[in-house]
């Protein structure tokens, strides 16, 4: 049986910057700034590089949290 894949794309323009602890995410429209750990930075960096990302089950809560902030949206 085919797994129900959750794919997320960018919903609001944001910028990433790598830091020793992980990174920072800045959303110009709201001015919001978020401190990211290394895994979060890695996942968001992949999302911005490829335009979409298929969420692993263990990362789903992370993506849902970002969806609440309107930073990403689920497309399938």
């Amino acid at each position: 049986m085919k797994a129900n894949k959750k794919v997320f794309v960018v919903a609001t323009k944001f910028f990433l910057r790598q830091e020793s602890f992980g990174g920072l995410l800045f959303t110009p429209i709201t001015g919001e700034l978020v401190q990211l750990n290394k895994l979060a930075f890695y996942l968001l960096e992949r999302l911005t590089r490829y335009g979409s990302i298929t969420a692993r089950t263990k990362d789903l809560s992370f993506w849902k949290e970002l969806q609440k902030k309107d930073l990403v949206k689920e497309v399938s």
Binding site: F15, R17, L24, F26, T30, G31, Q35
Partner: protein, 336 residues
């Protein structure tokens, strides 16, 4: 050493000291431009370096930034380089045409200074009749653009503190997205301005907390640390939990019109000049910044280090008079 970032999150940039108004609290004592302000090409080279460092946004200040003839060119260049921009203006020159240019230049946030809820108060503080009407007009015009955030920023003085509730109501009526109450900093002409008294500030703190709760989701109401001290001391609202306290020299810096780099716009001590060295080198190697990133153990053990980061020697973070009486800063001789 406490943590600091690989580059500033944002940079306060006093792009010119030219100003058409004569505000009694102006920390820049603005009026005439500095004779040696950065040229357009120097400013663009600086923006390019900021982009290479991955600075997120530039906050254009002054003086009145709109009096700098190349301000739109600089903002557009920043946009091209991937840096967001924000501006503080007295609103005098904001017409539909100027607002449209600000919109096209990609500004994400424009903050208009409004120091009173009445023309009488605002004009007296700003030293120009008609400045209240111009500022209000500017807010209305800017709200009709696609600029994401339009804000209002009053400086709290003894004379206007009783109008703050009314001013907050006015901000809501004008549809402002945010408002920041700023305490007087005794720099420039601010040295001669009359600060709000401690009892006035305590009352304002209650007003602030009341409105902040009441207007959540409607108006993003913030204040400098002396007014919003509890929020900062408990760090509950920080999106950067590891970078608490005063951001100067740790997550931001300031640049004067002639290129001098400082920890913040109010802490007027040079960490270097962008005409003499790279911004990156100043950020990482300046002894001034290094000192600010190395507070004493005594400071770090104080609960209010979450507000001032221990090493801010000026009265901008927490007004000295306020702090001495209500915080417990051992370094500055606090009494509580």
């Amino acid at each position: 050493m406490i943590k600091y970032l690989s580059a500033p999150i944002f940079i306060w940039w006093d792009v010119t000291y030219a100003c058409n108004l004569h505000c009694r609290q102006c920390y820049s004592a603005a009026g005439k431009p500095h004779p040696n302000e950065l040229t357009t090409s120097e400013a663009k080279a600086l923006i390019k370096e900021m982009a290479e460092m991955k600075v997120f946004y530039i906050y254009f200040l002054g003086g009145e930034p709109l009096l700098r003839k190349d301000i739109f060119e600089l903002a557009e260049y920043a946009k091209l380089c991937g840096i967001s921009t924000m501006m503080s203006t007295n609103g005098w020159f904001v017409t539909e045409g100027i607002a449209s240019r600000l919109e096209k230049a990609g500004f994400m946030h424009i903050r208009v200074s409004l120091d009173g809820a009445s023309a009488e108060m605002h004009d007296a503080i700003r030293g120009a009749k008609g400045s209240f009407n111009r500022a209000v007009r500017a807010i209305k015009i800017l709200k009709n653009t696609s600029i994401p955030r339009v804000g209002i920023s009053p400086t709290v003085l003894a004379d206007n503190i009783n109008e703050m509730s009314e001013l907050i109501e006015l901000a809501v009526a004008l549809g402002a997205n945010e408002m920041q109450l700023v305490q007087l900093c005794r720099r420039g002409r601010g040295l001669k301005a009359k600060p709000a008294s401690t009892s006035q500030l305590l009352k304002l703190r209650e007003v602030f907390i009341d409105y902040k709760t009441k207007l959540a989701g409607k108006l993003d109401l913030t204040a400098t640390e002396g007014i919003s001290i509890e929020d900062n001391a408990t760090n509950q609202n920080s999106s950067l939990p590891d970078f608490w306290g005063c951001p100067a020299g740790r997550s931001c810096l300031a640049i004067e019109a002639e290129g001098t780099v400082q920890p913040c716009i109010l802490y007027r001590v040079s960490a270097g000049n962008v005409r003499e060295g790279t911004l990156r080198k100043i950020w990482h190697d300046s002894s001034l910044f290094k000192g600010m990133r190395t507070p004493s153990k005594e400071c770090l053990s104080c609960s209010f280090s979450k507000v001032c980061s221990g090493e801010c020697p000026i009265d901008s973070c927490v007004d000295h008079a306020f702090r001495r009486q209500f915080a417990e800063c051992k370094k500055l001789g606090g009494v509580l």
